[in-house]
Amino acid sequence: MAGAQSVRPHSQEGEQTSDFQSRPLHDGRLWVHVHSSKRYKSSTLDLFLPTVLQPHRATGLALISRLLERGTQSYPSLQQLNRHTDLLYGARYFAATQRHGAFQTLRLHFSALDDRYLPRSEALLRKGARLLSDALHRPHAPTGVFDPDWVEQEKTGLLNTLAASLADRSNRAQRRCLQIMCASEPYRLSADGEAVEIKAFDEHTLTALLRDHLEQGVGHLYVCGDIDVDRACKLGEQFPPRSDVARKLCVGTEHTDRPARQVVEFGEASQGRLIVGHRSGIHLAHGDYPALLLLNLILGGDIYGRLYRRVREQEGLCYHIASYVEPMAGFLFVEAGIEAIHLQRVLNHIVDELHTLASQGPTSEELDNARRISLHRLEGAADHRDALIHFDLLRRLAAAPVDRLRLVEEVRQVRVESVRDVARHIVRDTAYLLAPGLTESAGGGV
């Protein structure tokens, strides 16, 4: 099974989906996507600069995002920057690296109240665009490179952040399962970087990396609020172009015939954390993706899913069990908090339910229920601009020719047989258990 996604250059005329009007700027090197709505009391700017997750680079970008949050040439300290945004009536600014499937995006966000809620016109969104542009192109770099003190502070900060993240047992189990499952794929990497790589960076390498990142690929600026496309594009003009439009980002999932793996690692934990990773080969751009969405809900998407009913309610083996889909790779994960002695029983239940779905399909009632929940969520997403942005960016990175309302229509068409057929494509790859035990294990027993 394999899936492949690529970021393709868009046409130059612009496009319109159910949620966004999009226009290219700078010869298609920056796309401005506008969701015009008076529903909100604030407007938002979200700039995404994506790249495929890569070792070393991912860590560097994570460090850069922290530095961009510290200040700019105009606001050269954390206190000055925070005071500036507070005085913009509690405007919110952040920079972060985020994961979208096999991609890492450097994201800069700004949100602020609309003028109609202020005592006088302040044009906060224009000030926000300036802030984001300055953060990227005029960062605090007193000698032409990032401030070395800041770099050292952020290296320590990122080390602490990564350590805290892995101390969360559920995060750690999810991370380890992906690392084992996707040992040679970008999916194994975290958008937050790797602790062991932090030491290698200094102010010079990070400054060069930011410059390089700004010159790669296509950027996406999402503007949401009471604003029209022309005004939004004017804001976008504040961002100098990325230079290499022809570069194509392309990733795929691994072809694999290897047998399913079962890995148990030990650590200090009050309860075992189980993550079972499956491959389906059905990602967002695939015609069967709507059926995969519904299969997930039927299996373990919510409290009425089969696994919840069987493993928790009937067997009392856990408090938490749920499944979720990674849309860009077509992975299906099941996660649960269990006693280690129940591992095999829980795995058997998961296998059994998937086999039943593959042989008999869901009941009509199950399918109808899952469809209603899915439609409610997809249609309700129209009220949440963060959800709209997330979905639109995912579909662009996945080169999926489906927008939200088309997906709604496709979910309406899913039949029992489609879910059954999708269940036949689900193959377990890795079952990972972080089990309570005195021995901390980095490698893992099988």
Binding site: L78, G90, D302, G316, C318, Y319, R372, D383
Partner: protein, 438 residues
């Protein structure tokens, strides 16, 4: 139409529009005590929230002392009825349903498409009004809750919060886990649940908040039909939680995490008996802590740069409710002792009034932005209404509190709740010996 609501009095019915926010909130209280807050606004989903004044601190009901964890156990068992599990019926409506138990309330939240409001609300009424606790199901639920307790035993946020409440309120109900313990779970049976349901789920303890594309008249009629006519014959005063008494001490708890987490706890008597004061206390504390420790403060910059604090975990939480009033301040740090001492020195600094006066305009602008943003999506509108409604305030009165607050109000709150207060210390982390110093 706008009807002014006087402080401390709720009329039986009101409809108020806030011109600046452009929002309308309708409130109705039926004779049996059930209250509805409806905020009609455009959208594709309706958020319905049912709150019952039945929380972990409601331990005394006539004739019985409820074991710790009873309210939470009850919340778990309410979905199953004699004719089957209501979860499946919510699913058939495409509804997302969730439930949560806190110290003073249990809440059920349902998000649903507009055309499913009627049947979903009927299910929510059944959820809280019908009791059905077969012994076998109660036994099975005990196992599930035991798993839930275990799941949270290594969850840093929860362990640290629990350590902080133990450090503030030694050996009192608030210091016990909301879900109870293995021992207390064993003493909760079907009869306990029946008793608790009878006394804690009366109509005078129920508030409904509905936000989204709904018709106010239709909603009022439907809620009236489902909730407004049920009889209320129990005396709510018999089931009030005891006020928690602040007894600060130091608690150290071992947990395998990367760095210690420090919470300093500052408690005070709850101002619940005076209308609007709980809201004022919470609001003023937020501003004071923003000025003294927030992102734009000298404290934050200095100690972020020295790595004593980090941006991800450092912050404060404020809890003001009928039986308690406290705030927690802290975060992850390599040196909890130094962080605690530095925090205390900053919090009680004699220059604080001057700092508040100098920075109040920035804090006001920031708070104003957060206030208006609270009315952007249905869930945050619902949370805003709940915050006010559970404190016997009209939500728009809370808006006015924001606009009327000045530096002297903040200084008075600082003086009353922070200055000269003895702090409780809770340290959770690696290489920490379990210790609860009295």
């Amino acid at each position: 139409m706008s009807t002014q609501v006087g402080h401390g009095q709720q009329p039986d019915s009101s409809e108020r529009t806030h011109a600046m926010l452009g929002e309308r909130i309708c409130h109705h209280r039926w004779q049996n005590g059930v209250q509805l807050w409806a905020c009609p606004r455009p959208g594709r989903s309706v958020s319905m929230h049912l709150s019952v004044a039945a929380g972990a601190l409601h331990r005394q009901i006539p004739g019985i002392e409820l074991p710790a964890g009873t309210a939470h156990f009850l919340e778990h068992r309410l979905f199953e009825k004699q004719d089957g599990d209501l979860s499946a019926r919510f699913a058939a409506l495409g509804a997302d349903i969730d439930a949560e138990t806190g110290y003073t309330h249990t809440s059920f939240t349902c998000a649903v498409q507009p055309d499913a409001v009627d049947p979903s609300l009927r299910l929510m009424a059944r959820l809280v009004q019908e009791s059905y606790f077969p012994t076998e199901a109660v036994e099975r639920e005990r196992e599930i809750i035991q798993r839930e307790i275990e799941l949270y035993e290594d969850h840093l946020e929860w362990v640290a919060f629990h350590a902080a409440t133990r450090a503030l309120y030694a050996n009192q109900p608030i210091a016990e886990d909301i879900a109870g313990t293995t021992q207390t779970l064993c003493s909760i049976d079907a009869e306990t649940l029946n008793q608790a349901h009878t006394h804690l789920y009366g109509p005078d303890r129920i508030q409904l908040i509905i936000v989204g594309p709904v018709d106010n008249k239709e909603t009022l009629d439907l809620v009236g039909e489902l909730f407004g006519s049920t009889a209320s014959c129990l005396n709510t005063n018999l089931t009030r939680p005891e006020p928690a008494k602040v007894v600060p001490r130091r608690i150290e708890t071992s947990l395998a995490v990367s760095r210690p987490r420090l919470w300093l706890g500052l408690g005070a008597a709850s101002p619940w008996d005076k209308p609007h004061q709980a809201m004022q206390r919470e609001l003023h504390l937020e501003w004071v802590l923003d000025i003294l420790l927030g992102g734009a403060s000298p404290f934050f910059s200095q100690h972020y740069e020295s790595a004593l604090i980090d941006a991800e975990s450092f912050g404060s939480e404020i809890y003001v409710d009928e039986p308690f009033s406290f705030c927690l301040i802290g975060g992850d740090t390599d040196d909890p002792q130094r962080l605690g001492e530095t925090l205390l020195a900053t919090l009680i600094d004699s220059q604080t009034p001057d700092q508040i006066r100098a920075d109040v305009d920035r804090a006001r602008r920031r708070a104003y932005g957060e206030l208006v943003s609270s009315f952007e999506d249905d869930d945050s509108v619902r949370e805003f209404i709940e915050t006010a409604a559970l404190r016997s305030c009209h939500p728009f009165d809370l808006v006015d509190l924001y606009l009327e607050t000045d530096a002297e109000d903040l200084i008075a709150t600082w003086d009353l709740t922070i200055r000269d207060r003895e702090a409780a210390w809770a340290v959770v982390g690696p290489n920490v010996e379990n210790r609860s110093g009295d």
